[in-house]
Amino acid sequence: MSISIASSPHVARVNRVDRVMLQVLAGLAPGVLALTVFFGWGVLINIALAVVFAVLIETAFLLARRRPVLPAIGDLSAVVTAVLFAISVPPALPWWLTLLGMLFAIALVKQLYGGLGYNPFNPAMAAYVFLLVSWPVPMTTWLPPAMLAEHALSFGESLQLIVSGALPTGLDWDAISAATPLDAMRTQLDEHLSIEVIRQSPLWGLVGGRGWEWVGVAFLLGGLYLLWRRTITWHIPLAMLASLGALATLFWAIDPQSHPSPFFHLFSGAAMLGAFFIATDPVTASTTRRGQLIYGAIIGATVFVIRTWGGYPDAVAFAVLLMNIAAPTIDYYTQPRAFGHSRGRT
């Protein structure tokens, strides 16, 4: 038996990929729990399917590229991609869309570019956008939160729905699906209803949609855990939430009847998930401190612009992908000055 002896300082190494990924998974736990409580077993089934598909596809591509399999699978990056994807998609998504999504994320966006660390785009978000653009109907068919559902799907019914697309007897899609709060808000604002009128529906809770706002709170808690563990820094999440919140506050102050409150924006859709877990992806985000502030702020602003005037109800995936392209340029122009060097460009 050998005892490894290390000299001081005795600090846990935090920069190992698998450790970072494990912490991200731990940080996602409250959000996953909240999603499962409000939206049923489908969330967990989707996660399981996506993880299995992602690991299998990653293994196949690593073998085809003649790369060592175990280190790449063991770093858990494919698992994190799968979980992020699975909690972004509707809980009743047919299994083959999850398969196609993972194929796109792992094979095309990650492995064809050279694997973890070389991918210019966030794989989970690229897959989400790929599916949203290609199959808009299943990708926007959300279930209502549990307290509003006429019929809560059991585990067996959820599994059957995902695997075979068969609905429980006596129910149709209209009975079990519901618009997301962002979608409902948009549709009714387009009909020139005032927010006072819109909010009379039982769909709404304290600030956002019932159930949905608590999912946002859960992701916020998980994000704070990541900040506490220093897995991520505060720059991107704060910049993103602040710019989204500031723009929302501005328009809300001007016209509170046709622009929802900043809290609605912050606790709806994927704002919290995006700010702490997606925009902070160390591979595809900006890496300089100033760059991260710019990167996060433009994501937040883009989310607000697309939510308010764009063609889709939520926009975190689009905003993140757009800024992924811009990240290298932002990094180039925000290189910190090395100590002792002059400010001017050489």
């Binding site: 196609l100 095309l108 064809l112 790929f130 653009v133 290609s134 199959w135 808009p136």
Partner: protein
């Protein structure tokens, strides 16, 4: 001067080695915009081929009359004339295809592949090689457009050569292939991103094939043409 081996070389270059779409990456605007189906790709490719052949021949004919200082405007003028003629012909004979391809037929005039061949080949060679070059390059371009169009159509709609009768007459109805109405295709394949992803995959595929071929050739040892000829002669005997 055009010996059979020259022809072979011209066609090998046009269809594969120097494919205007997959290697030279020229003419990407029509390539990306009109390849939403195999039929559209084929139509666009044939229109481009017609212009390419006609302009190559004409430019080869006048190559000694045009002063080098003004050659580019003259080339553009020649190409534009043929594009106009082809556009009118498509409008007259394939009106529905014309509606689909729309603006992109007049835009053939800006297709860099055409002025590229005029400048790089036709203005330096005789009529016959210029004609063959135009034909080979045009067919290579057509092939790339048709394959990309076919891939996008198949992934997006689950059909192949849908509406081929617009281009090839009623006899081509049998060419159409369909996976049925229920097929839920990937809409993105028909949308502009699908063109970029599809083209990227096609180029990657071609590079992989080239790499494999090169690896096989170097594994077998490099044989000179003479040795190959001798060995074939020996087997023939």
């Amino acid at each position: 001067m055009a010996t059979p081996s020259d022809w072979k070389q011209l066609f090998a270059d046009g269809l594969w080695n120097n494919n205007q779409a997959l290697v030279a990456l020229l003419g990407l605007c029509p390539l990306l915009a009109t390849t939403t189906s195999a039929t559209n790709g084929l139509g666009m490719g044939l229109a481009t081929t017609a212009v390419l052949v006609l302009s190559n021949v004409t430019i080869s004919l006048i190559r000694n009359l045009v002063r080098p200082e003004v050659r580019l405007p003259v080339f553009v003028l020649v190409i534009a004339s043929f594009v106009t003629a082809v556009e009118l012909a498509v409008q007259a004979y394939f009106y529905e295809l014309y509606l689909v391809l729309g603006l992109f037929i007049p835009l053939i005039v800006t297709n860099c592949a055409i002025i590229g061949r005029a400048e790089a080949f036709a203005s330096k060679h005789g009529v016959k090689p210029a004609l063959l070059d135009g034909l080979a390059m045009g067919l290579g371009f057509t092939l790339a457009l048709m394959v990309l169009g076919g891939l996008r159509e198949f992934a997006g709609q689950g059909t192949l050569f849908h509406q081929a009768h617009l281009l090839l007459g009623d006899a081509a109805r049998g060419l159409s292939l369909s996976l049925g109405e229920d097929f839920q295709g990937a809409l993105i394949a028909i949308l502009p991103p699908g063109a970029f992803i599809g083209l990227g995959l096609l180029i990657a595929l071609k590079n992989v094939i080239d790499k494999r071929l090169a690896a096989r050739a170097s594994a077998q040892g490099i044989k000179t043409n003479r040795e190959v000829e001798q060995s074939t002669a020996a087997t023939a005997l």
